[in-house]
Symmetry: C2
């Protein structure tokens, strides 16, 4: 602890500091956990290979420093735009702030991470040196990015059950078979298509578009659906407790 009793205000004695200890300053980073589903490859995360120490040669999440004239929401968008077009982002939410004293071996740095989702149909959207990798094969990431990636996946899995977040995994219209594959990819286990459709319909999340699409493998045309809302909300938050 610093000696807070005898610290002087940098603003002058007419402005007593509300906390005289508050002279420590830190670099602050914004970090993006960018996820999308892929039926064949599994859950994908956008990574970048570090060219410099520390952790040279290791993969890291897209990240960068917060500047004096931007807030965190803007900073993370600025940094991730080196790797993808921000217009394809379907959902962005703050995940958590990481402040272990030695998380950066060169200098104390505090970092705030974001969970960023893009729909499964966006194809090759990466710019620059970013690369989609399968989460289960991503290996050991630089800094504490492994833990941050894990927190992002945990958040997405949990929100699939208590929110309508799956709208952000899907394109504008889709078949139930496709949506089921996205759930399976994130959750890691199979989901019954009839059950999925019934639960989402009961919550008022899904509606038919009125169109049909032929499955790529042939067979009967499948009904297409869309989500009724593209805004995140907790689904039926107090259904159990409402009178």
């Amino acid at each position: 602890m610093t000696d807070v009793k005898n610290a002087k205000s940098p603003l002058g004695p007419q402005y007593p500091m509300r906390d005289p200890a508050g002279t420590a300053k830190f670099r602050h980073q914004a970090i993006a956990v960018i996820l999308k589903t892929d039926i064949e490859e599994g859950l994908q995360v956008l990574l970048h290979r570090r060219l410099h120490e520390p952790f040279s040669g290791r993969w890291e999440l897209p990240s960068g420093s917060v500047e004096v004239n931007e807030n965190l929401d803007h900073s993370v968008r600025r940094h991730l735009s080196r790797y993808i077009d921000p217009h394809v982002i379907s959902h962005q939410e703050q995940l958590g702030t990481y402040s272990d004293v030695h998380r950066d071996p060169y200098d104390r740095t505090i970092a705030t991470s974001y969970l960023i989702l893009v729909p499964w149909n966006v194809g090759e959207i990466n710019r620059g040196e970013g690369q989609w990798q399968t989460v289960s094969h991503a290996g050991d990431l630089a800094f504490d990015h492994q833990r941050i990636l894990g927190d992002g996946i945990d958040r997405l899995r949990a929100k699939l059950s208590y929110s309508n977040i799956s709208f952000a995994l899907a394109p504008h219209s889709f078949s139930i078979a496709q949506l089921r594959e996205a759930y399976r990819t994130v959750l890691g286990y199979d989901v019954a298509a009839t059950n999925l459709q019934r639960v989402l319909a009961r919550r008022g999340q899904l509606e038919e578009t009125g169109e049909l699409a032929k499955p790529p493998g042939g067979g009967r045309p499948a009904k297409l659906y869309r989500f009724t809302s593209q805004q995140l909300r907790i689904t039926d938050p107090f259904a159990a407790f409402k009178p």
Copy 2:
């Protein structure tokens, strides 16, 4: 934006900076949203009256600067211990990080808030100059603390529906009538006692202690219950989707 191209690494040329723009440093604050329920007064938050500018005379959430040798979890505990004994805390979780460029009129400061819960029976636990106030009468708080308080209440309300967080509102044992009052206090509407008991029992959250307690107002002794777990978890996360 600063000129990132021509920035030099403060570590020397042998260590090219991973982000040459990363020279900006910020003060960082830890902020505590400390809540408890009170049957008569409603939802309570612990506040402190500011004695200095900016916002002199206004109420604020317990908060203070992060020091070089502590992480955020430790920092928030250190600052809130000026107002309550940390041993009474039943739950602590990170809420969010606030980084608006002008959130502090004196100096750019980034702040991370925590949701902190204490059981309803702890009585007069405040130390120093902290004071419990009813949330609905708390008025306009200093800085962006009004928004942060709102985010804390929203998080608690949402988690009452999809997690077992109510363990942190209650003491070791309690009657269903008492627990129902805690839900009503947080949610702002009445909850049927039989419905509440049924839902929590079905989720495996509640068990009878085997003891009875006389209600303070007289009448039949009521069964006492306890929570089966004091660790936060998402309740039945994929009940709807499990095969």
